[in-house]
């Protein structure tokens, strides 16, 4: 994933311009675990949203697997989102009408890679790995923040995407759970590109590359 001169400017309601990202040039590679760190408001979420095709830059070019994103159709973008990207949103972002398991299965509804049985098998395994096997049939509002976050992570992994993007995936977790997740992400990053946004210094131990975002400017540490 290559970013060229990416700029993102927000215009707030009172007309002020906020430059959330300022000339980002970076090439994210497969098989690596990236950590993006930075203060609150430094533009981390904005960056990861653009990487995840959930937001568009104001200026600059973004290439996903060599395809220039701005030139792709809506349907093609959807396909990439579904097949190639697993996104863990900062606010978990679960469908409150569906159980944890159903939420996890949602992205597979439009994906024909595997049979339903295989998928459910895989989902159960992931729930087990993350200590959520007893929570599979709970609705999101019956789950704690940390549990919701893990469900969101399982959903990101279920389609076996080539890129995992996680916006503060450990923000709501205790130390043990955090460790579990980081280990899992580390394991996954062997054949995928994992990009994790975090405030947490612990992540430095797991990340291959730590990136610092300061007022919209990205620096390799």
């Amino acid at each position: 994933m290559k970013m060229e001169d990416i700029v993102k400017t927000y215009i707030s309601k009172n007309g002020n311009q906020v430059k959330a990202l300022n000339n980002i040039n970076y090439n994210f590679k497969k098989g690596k675990f990236y950590a993006i760190m930075g203060q609150s408001g430094s533009g981390k979420t904005t960056l990861i949203n653009i990487l995840g095709l959930v937001d568009v830059p104001t200026r600059g070019k973004y290439f996903f697997n060599g395809l220039e994103v701005q030139k792709l159709s809506n349907d093609k973008l959807s396909e990439i989102r579904n097949n190639e990207i697993g996104f863990v949103f900062q606010h978990f972002y679960l469908n409150n009408r569906l159980t944890a398991l159903e939420n996890v299965l949602l992205p597979t509804l439009i994906n024909k890679k595997h049979t339903k049985e295989e998928i459910i098998e895989k989902a159960k395994k992931l729930f087990n790995n993350l200590g959520l096997e007893s929570r599979m049939n709970h609705y999101p509002n019956e789950l704690s923040g940390g549990e919701q976050q893990r469900v969101s992570l399982i959903r990101a992994l279920i389609n076996e995407p080539s890129v995992i993007l996680a916006d503060e995936p450990t923000g709501n977790l205790d130390y043990n759970n955090e460790l579990e997740i980081l280990k899992l992400l580390k394991e996954v990053s062997k054949e995928k590109c994992v990009i994790v946004v975090s405030h947490n210094p612990n992540i430095k131990k797991y990340a291959d590359i730590v990136l610092n975002l300061d007022k919209g400017v990205l620096n390799e540490n």
Partner: protein
């Protein structure tokens, strides 16, 4: 996406209805019930109305009309005809006072050989008894008498006991015969609308006729009711009128006062129009802003890589199911209502409850309209959904 999964998602969404959707659901149930009621109950209404109408008269009447020359013929047809449903035959001829007179301003007496339809009830004085007795109108206020130079016919109630000289004319309007009559009684002419009609005895009439042959001026061309048949119920009227008409009898059946039925029909059409308009407004409003309410989930679907056509399918099915619930509930409520009505109301009202029918077709049409609107608005919204940034996720 597989249809089965679409429906599963739709069913899931039914379990978690927002307040707005709940209100929408209730409104739809009410509208559908209101659509069902006028159609379902219309036949009951009209039956009730008919009962009311029929109860205005104990029996249906059939009048047999014609000129006086038709009288004997009608009578013989009626004598031959046997029909149990004819409860009573009113012969508008009276044995005593068959004849009546039409008196003009100069007391010229024109023979009316036909049979007149009533025995006037004498309100002052006595009935006809003697040969030259005559009964006159109480107040001869008819325009015919206004400019009388012969004022004897005015205020006849005061004339009881006095005499009136009647002139019998021939067809050339020449005086043939003149006879003095004693005014024995008067009747309320207002009631009968017969201000210039006086009554004499049948025998006297015949005698005058035979004495003067048929030279007297006749007035027999006027068509009048000769008989009135009373029939036990409305259903049997047609059979009888058909029979009579086949026998060259002129028949008229007074129309039932069906205003009530028309009012009910008008009212239900009116209700329908109001209903359709309001419900379409409600529907448009609902679907117009639907994607806004569903922003969270639409954005989620997009973020997970659902294509727009998938998202539209999901929402479409969700709405169809929601309205299907309204449809089922309203039908169940309607059947419930019907049972209640059948159990309790028919004790008081004598109409045929069994006629309450479940008319699905208008409801089905309404359902189709909703589905159509749903689809049209989703098609319009697809642009909105396309341009909608999924990025707002963080803010939600």
């Amino acid at each position: 996406m597989k249809t089965k999964e679409l429906f599963l998602l739709g069913f899931k969404s039914l379990k978690f209805l927002s307040l707005r959707k709940k209100i929408f659901l209730v409104i739809q149930i009410v509208i559908m019930l209101l659509i069902l009621i006028p159609f379902g109950f219309y036949s009951v209404f009209s039956n009730a109305a008919e009962t009311i109408i029929n109860n205005q008269y104990e029996f249906r009447e059939i009048s047999l009309y014609g000129t006086s020359n038709d009288y004997e013929k009608y009578k013989s047809v009626l004598n031959e005809y046997e029909n149990n449903h004819i409860v009573y035959i009113d012969e508008l001829a009276t044995p005593n006072i068959r004849a009546y007179t039409s008196v003009d301003s100069r007391n010229n007496f024109i023979l009316k050989r036909k049979i007149e339809g009533f025995v006037p009830e004498v309100t002052n004085g006595n009935e006809l008894n003697n040969k030259y007795d005559i009964i006159c109108p109480e107040m001869a206020t008819d325009v015919n008498f206004e400019e009388l130079n012969y004022n004897d016919l005015i205020n006849l109630e005061e004339k009881i006991g006095k005499t009136i000289n009647l002139n019998f004319l021939n067809s050339d309007d020449e005086l043939v015969f003149s006879q003095e009559f004693n005014i024995v009684g008067t009747y309320n002419a207002d009631f009968y609308y017969s201000y210039n009609t006086c009554y004499i005895l049948n025998n006297t009439f015949d005698e005058i006729l035979s004495k003067n042959n048929s030279d007297l001026k006749e007035d027999s061309d006027t068509v009048k009711d000769l008989f009135i048949l009373y029939v036990d119920s409305n259903e049997n009227v047609e059979e009888i009128t058909n029979y009579l008409e086949n026998n060259d009898i002129m028949v008229s059946v007074p129309k039932l006062d069906d205003k009530i039925v028309n009012y009910i029909l008008l009212l239900s059409i009116f209700i329908m129009i109001i209903l359709v308009i309001t419900s379409i407004i409600i529907l448009i409003n609902y679907f117009k802003n639907y994607y806004k309410e569903e922003y969270y989930n639409i954005a989620l679907y997009k973020a997970l890589g659902f294509k727009e056509k998938d998202i539209i399918k999901i929402i479409f099915i969700e709405n169809i199911l929601l309205i299907f619930v309204a449809l089922i509930v309203s039908i169940v409520l309607f059947i419930f209502l019907k049972i209640i009505v059948t159990l309790y109301l028919h004790q008081f009202v004598a109409f045929r409850i069994a006629e309450i029918r479940l008319s699905i077709i208008p409801l089905f049409i309404y359902y189709l309209i909703i589905i159509l609107l749903n689809y049209v608005f989703l098609k319009i919204d697809i642009n909105e959904i396309s341009s909608m940034s999924i990025k707002r996720i963080g803010e939600l």
